[in-house]
Amino acid sequence: MDRLKLVLQYFQSNSESISNGICIILSLICVKLYTSFDFNCPCLPQYNKMYSLGVVFVPPIILFLLGVLVNRHTGVLMEEWVKPLGNRTKNPAVVKFLLSSMLQRALLAPMVWILMTLLDGKCFICAFSMNVDPKYFTGIPNSTGLELIKIMAKVPCKEDVIFKNNSFWKAVSRYVRCYSQAIGWSILLFFIFLGAMGRVLKPCFNHATFLQTRYWSNYLDIEQKLFDETCVPHARNFARKCVVQFFESMQEDVTVRMALSNTLRPSTIHNEYEEKEEEQLHGITRQDQVDHLLQTWYECKPELDVTNMAYKPKVCITWEDHNGKALFSEV
């Protein structure tokens, strides 16, 4: 169980590894889907090619779209692309980086499907058994009176009656499967080679720019997450204050006379919890202020400059009596 917890923690540690984890999960789902899918070649000349090419290409499109959908970077990318300029310049290199990393991850599961179909061979046999020239193979069942092409189209359905006690279909299947696996392995080798070349040669081109774009795309992702996270406690405290205020507004007339003791310092009347609440509200206490905040966040994001916030002076209060003598001071 500790192992599972460690694995979960590792994958949740940053957004890159979450995306990688989701990518791998999608590939595993793809493998499971392929093994549980019951491939059902129609064995008719007019439908074989359509069915098998459909099975080879339609699920990868679905998996690709799913891969794009579940990737967090898609949202960040779309937002960055369409947002107005505001106080920040738009960096097209960041958009391109996000797009390329998203596409790379989304393309993994479709490639896994295509490679599995090719290495397995069933789809190829179904699509191309009619294109095989039967004169290279012995034992063709020509006593049934069917046309040649119909016989070849039935090869993928080996249980058919015309192939009883006949190894013709085995020979043709082996031949086509051989082709299919060769193509599958070649494609795999090609992509691995491409990936390796890309990784080896990338530092040769614009490495410094690459470091910058990677930093700022990561920053955008983190900023978006933190904004969402900041909205949650803000909403909670807003709601709490609103509810308490509502209760208090239902009160009847109350007259309280209290003697103000000199032990009752102003700072002790606010308990620590309320101070923390005030901090979390950040002075946003009205609906139109919240609306304005959210609108401005989208339309005119602030400058990337937090010097003022980091070195903010603390507000100190001094109480004075009517003569100007300081009664109590926080300075």
Binding site: M1, L4, K5, L8, D38, N40, P42, C43, L44, Y51, G54, V58, P59, I61, I62, L65, L66, L69, M78, E79, V82, E159, D160, V232, A235, F238, A239, R240, K241, C242, V244, Q245, F246, F247, E248, S249, M250, Q251, E252, D253, V254, T255, R257, M258, A259, L260, S261, T263, P266, I269, L281, T285, R286, V290, L294, Q295, Y298, E299, W319, D321
Partner: protein, 350 residues
């Protein structure tokens, strides 16, 4: 048990991931239900279609409704929809957002069922075997059957154990043909659903991002506010009950315990201080509501006239001046409350 606990903890990390977890569980349940369901085609011309299409359509409807029932937010949505306007405007965009997010989650299990049914092919085979054009697979040397007999004959194709016409028609080829058609429909269905989902989620930010941020914040706020209101009511009820019972005991016993002990009497001993502090927190929890009609007013007005989303900071002047704070409520909501005045006077020992 440990595994289960960790999964539950992980899923309850926040409300969103909890709902996603329920969604995933329902999808798995849907797939499992299909595989354990024993499909028995009636193999009669009049009932095949109804059974086959019924199995395809009725369980998804059931899963869809179940998805709504299991979602906590359905009651929040109906409450927000039905409440009177009061001091707070109703935002239709928030209602639409909540409804659409609930619908998206509820649609996943039905989609899984339909996809699995179509990929398997049995329901299509049952529904369309009687009426499909299977002339290609008929044995030409056999005498042609009349239309009615052919329909009856073809209707028995899905039931391999009662089918007896192997010399008339190649049953494997016919089954393969119909299953192939069913699988093609299944993949097309999945493709359409994925493209629609892609358009909704990936292209949406192009159009309404600012408004979307607003509606997401306020729908989340409504949910939190409802929970906090329930919590506050519970605390209030506890304080109310405690003081009520205390007063009842006092009225029976005839003794009166002084109210609102202030921490000024610090020298009196630790026990009194603790009592004073405890009573102060109960009084605080009561929030000034001590009568039944006040409490009824609270609950009534919470539905009929929600407060404005505006927090006012209480002006506190600690410097020894008498301070008057007038709090008047508008007449249109609280027509059975007169204008109230709160007067607070502070004295300081200078």
């Amino acid at each position: 048990m440990d595994k289960f606990r960790i999964m539950v903890q992980f899923l309850q990390a926040n409300q969103e991931s909890f709902m996603n977890g329920i969604c995933g569980i329902m999808a798995l349940a849907s797939a499992q239900m299909y595989s354990s369901f024993e499909f028995t085609c009636p193999c009669l011309p009049d009932y095949n279609y109804a059974y086959g299409i019924g199995i395809l359509i009725v369980p998804p409807i059931w899963f869809f409704l179940l998805g709504y029932v299991l979602n906590n937010n359905i009651s929040v949505l109906t409450e927000e929809w039905k409440r009177p306007v009061g001091k707070r405007r109703k935002d239709p965009a928030v209602l639409r957002y909540m409804f659409s997010s609930m619908t998206q989650r509820a649609l996943i299990a039905p989609v899984v069922w339909v996809a699995v049914t179509l990929m398997d092919g049995k329901s299509f085979l049952c529904a369309f075997s009687a009426t499909a054009d299977l002339s290609e697979f008929l044995n030409e040397s056999y005498p042609i059957l009349s239309k009615k007999e052919l329909v009856k004959f073809q209707a028995r194709i899905p039931c391999e154990d009662v089918f007896d016409g192997h010399e008339i028609i190649s049953i494997d080829a016919a089954t393969r043909y119909i299953r192939c058609f069913s699988q093609a429909c299944g993949w097309s269905f999945l493709m359409v659903i994925t493209i629609v989902a892609f358009l909704i989620r990936a292209i949406r930010p192009c159009f309404t991002q600012a408004a979307f941020l607003k509606t997401k914040y306020w729908s989340h706020y409504i949910d939190i506010e409802r929970k906090l209101f329930d919590e506050t009511c519970k605390e209030h009820a506890k304080g109310f009950a405690k003081v009520c019972i205390q007063q009842y005991f006092e009225s029976v016993s005839g003794e009166i315990v002084p109210q609102s002990q202030l921490p000024t009497k610090k020298g009196k001993g630790k026990k009194d201080d603790d009592d004073g502090e405890k009573q102060k927190s109960d009084e605080e929890k009561l929030l000034g509501i001590r009568k039944e009609e006040d409490m009824n007013k609270v609950l009534w007005n919470w539905h009929l006239c929600k407060p404005a989303l505006m927090l006012t900071k209480r002006a506190e002047d600690m410097n020894g001046h008498a301070h008057l704070d007038t709090l008047s409520l508008s007449k249109e909501c609280n027509h059975h409350t007169p204008v109230k005045t709160t007067a607070v006077a502070y004295y300081s020992k200078v």
